[in-house]
């Protein structure tokens, strides 16, 4: 905060201290800034821990390496799921919520004390659950399906973590209220804030479901409740488990819009369309928790078809819209920036050397092509019979939550470091390559796990040779190849992830201070125009001419339709059943 005058503002009778952002002119509440920093740092630490676990898991599933013994494998897999899926993602999302409310709305953060309480509860909860897992008596996978039982602290930690996250969501909503009352902005909230609001709303349902199921389960583990119905547990647990992934989708789409705005000056093609797409998420996305219950006995096909399709694919419609409007906004902006030749000059001349842009665009493409298509296919009621609980499932969600969300968050970090932490990114030469390395590794993990899953290989499985089993079964040798390639990709992804951690932590410790003079440069290479100009500009682009985007969308749609029907063909080859 040395870089700009900091002053205390008395707003609404409460003193909040602000600094002025040299890049955007926004007033940044220092309390919000500290919270963003704390949550982002915690997120990165858990990514490091969870990422190491992920590598160990992948190396164990590589038959030629088979690193860990069985009990350690299941322990580490449980920890991997928890640390990356819950802790890394949700801590980072808290940072995004505070950024999208206090910073973007030019407002003080509501109740920073409660936000700190949220942070501490999440931290204590996360650590408690980790300890329970590492003690070895809670290797139940992060899904902890009853009647398999973990130690009480496993559930207690998750409950504390969830309560903390809920408080964080309330702080976000409170900040929206304050900003409106104190008129720190005019008209409607920015689109990115609206995306964050979408994430927050989904988070509230998520956490409520978690509380409804985890509190009784905790009491059951303590012996106060004798029985938890296995099917009810799963229904409600996935209300949390899957919806939490939808928080990610809403959050990373908001992050795409934000990065596109900062790096190339993109503005939404249509506020109406983009916001309606988010509304589709709010209304329908959470129904897809049914994806995990498609081959469960005891729930009707009507319920399955309706819920797994997000009420006739209306939430998919939302994603398909964002999938066009984000590249469309980038193309429009790049054309305004002067790259008007042919269908793709705007894309070729995009700032590919800027890790924020590269990470964002890779996240967009991989999420759509790998994660989105595989997700819709996997979530088709009858096709799920082919894939449920095979490695196809982790293959799919590493494309969504790692190539999509994680990569988007990594990309955002390259902007958060200079803008919030006020540090220049160290090792820019390596940082430039980080998103590519990670993206290639993760694409490999996703594709090869999906490949192995298509061959029937089970997820969460220590030994596909069944060497200790009474009977034997041989998977096709291609399955072994897939798992080997998966192991190699995991090493690449781990190097890419490790590089991210080194760069982030290194920049925090040793990065050059960012000042008003070098802030634009610190944001990385950009197309011609300057960021402060780009960020502030609205201006109607006039009529759009987006041939490149239309071609991309057409290629995507063709791939989607073909892959979808190929899988129906596989279903029709199965033994008749009913």
């Amino acid at each position: 905060m040395s870089i700009a005058e900091s002053h205390s503002g008395i707003i609404g009778g409460i003193a909040a201290r602000f600094r002025t952002c040299p890049a955007t002119g926004l007033q940044i509440d220092l309390a919000a800034e500290r919270l963003i920093k704390a949550n982002a740092v915690a997120a990165v630490v858990f990514l490091l821990v969870g990422g190491v676990f992920g590598l160990l898991v992948a190396l164990t599933r590589w038959p030629a390496v088979h690193l860990l013994p069985a009990d350690m494998f299941y322990l580490v897999l449980t920890a991997h799921g928890l640390d990356v899926l819950l802790l890394w993602i949700l801590f980072f999302e808290m940072a995004v919520l505070y950024f999208a409310s206090a910073v973007l709305l030019n407002c003080r953060l509501a109740a920073p004390r409660f936000a700190w309480l949220a942070f501490i509860l999440m931290l204590v909860g996360g650590v408690l659950t980790n300890i329970a897992v590492l003690q070895g008596d809670s290797s139940v996978m992060f899904t902890s399906y009853v009647p398999m039982q973990a130690s009480p602290n496993f559930y207690l930690g998750l409950i504390l973590f969830a309560v903390g996250a809920l408080i964080g969501c309330l702080v976000f909503l409170g900040t929206l209220v304050i900003a409106k009352e104190e008129k720190t902005y005019e008209g409607s909230i920015p689109l990115v804030t609206f995306g964050a609001l979408t994430a927050c709303i989904i988070a509230i349902f998520t956490i409520a479901s978690g509380a409804i199921i985890l509190i009784p389960t905790w009491l059951w583990s303590l012996g106060y409740i004798s029985h938890i119905d296995t099917l009810m547990y799963k229904l409600i647990w996935w209300g949390m488990g899957h919806s939490s992934q939808q928080i990610n989708v809403a959050a990373h789409v908001a992050v795409w819009y934000a990065i596109a705005a900062i790096t190339v000056g993109a503005k939404p093609l249509s506020e109406k369309v983009s916001r309606t797409a988010f509304l589709m998420y709010i209304l329908f996305l959470q129904l897809a928790s049914a994806h995990h219950l498609l081959v469960e006995p005891g729930i009707s096909a009507e319920w399955k078809v309706f819920n797994t399709s997000y009420a006739m694919y209306l939430a998919v419609l939302g994603s398909l819209i964002h999938g066009m409007t984000v590249p469309g906004a980038i193309e429009a902006a790049q054309r305004r920036n002067g790259f008007v030749n042919g269908a793709f000059e705007w894309l070729r001349k995009a700032p590919w050397g800027n890790p924020a842009f590269a990470g964002m665009f890779l996240s967009l493409v991989l999420f759509g092509f790998l994660g989105g298509i595989s997700g819709v296919v996997l979530g088709t009621e009858q096709i799920n019979i082919l894939m449920h609980n095979t490695l196809y499932v982790p293959g799919h969600f590493h494309a969504t939550v790692v190539a999509g969300t994680t990569l988007a968050f990594m990309a955002l970090t390259y902007l958060v470091l200079p803008l919030i932490f006020q540090r220049k990114v160290i090792l820019p030469g390596l940082a430039k390559w980080q998103p590519y390395l990670f993206a290639i590794g993760v694409s490999g993990i996703s594709l090869f796990m999906m490949g192995a899953g298509t061959l029937g290989v089970s997820r969460r499985h220590w030994d596909i040779t069944f060497s200790d089993a009474a009977l034997s079964f041989d998977y096709p040798s291609a399955a072994f190849l897939m798992l080997g390639l998966n192991g190699l990709s995991a090493i690449l992804a781990a190097v890419g992830g490790g590089l991210y951690i080194v760069i982030t932590v290194g920049s925090l410790l040793f990065g050059e201070k960012v000042t008003a003079d070098n802030v634009v440069e610190a944001l990385g290479p950009m197309p011609t125009r300057k960021v402060s100009e780009a960020v502030k500009e609205y201006g109607n682009a006039g009529t759009f001419h987006l041939p490149g985007t239309y071609i991309l969308v057409a290629v995507f749609f063709t791939a989607f339709v073909l892959y979808y029907f190929v899988n129906w063909k596989y279903v029709s080859d199965l033994w008749p059943m009913g």
């Binding site: 709303i201 009810m232 229904l235 209304l283």
Partner: protein, 55 residues
């Protein structure tokens, strides 16, 4: 945004209903929680509690 001219108070009256919905976080919160609670959770629980008992 600072350069915007002040619009008359009555302008807020003319904001289309859909935009008003999208500008209202708490209404959205209500919808976003109610939809999955009813369609996913309650419908699902109803089915699970109605599974017949084997003879």
């Amino acid at each position: 945004m600072a350069t915007k001219t002040k619009e008359p108070e009555a302008a807020s009256e003319r904001i289309p209903p859909m935009q008003r919905l999208l500008d209202n976080p708490f209404l959205l919160l209500f919808l976003g929680v109610t939809m999955p609670t009813v369609l996913y959770l309650m419908w699902g629980l109803m089915e699970i509690t109605q599974i017949p008992i084997a003879e």
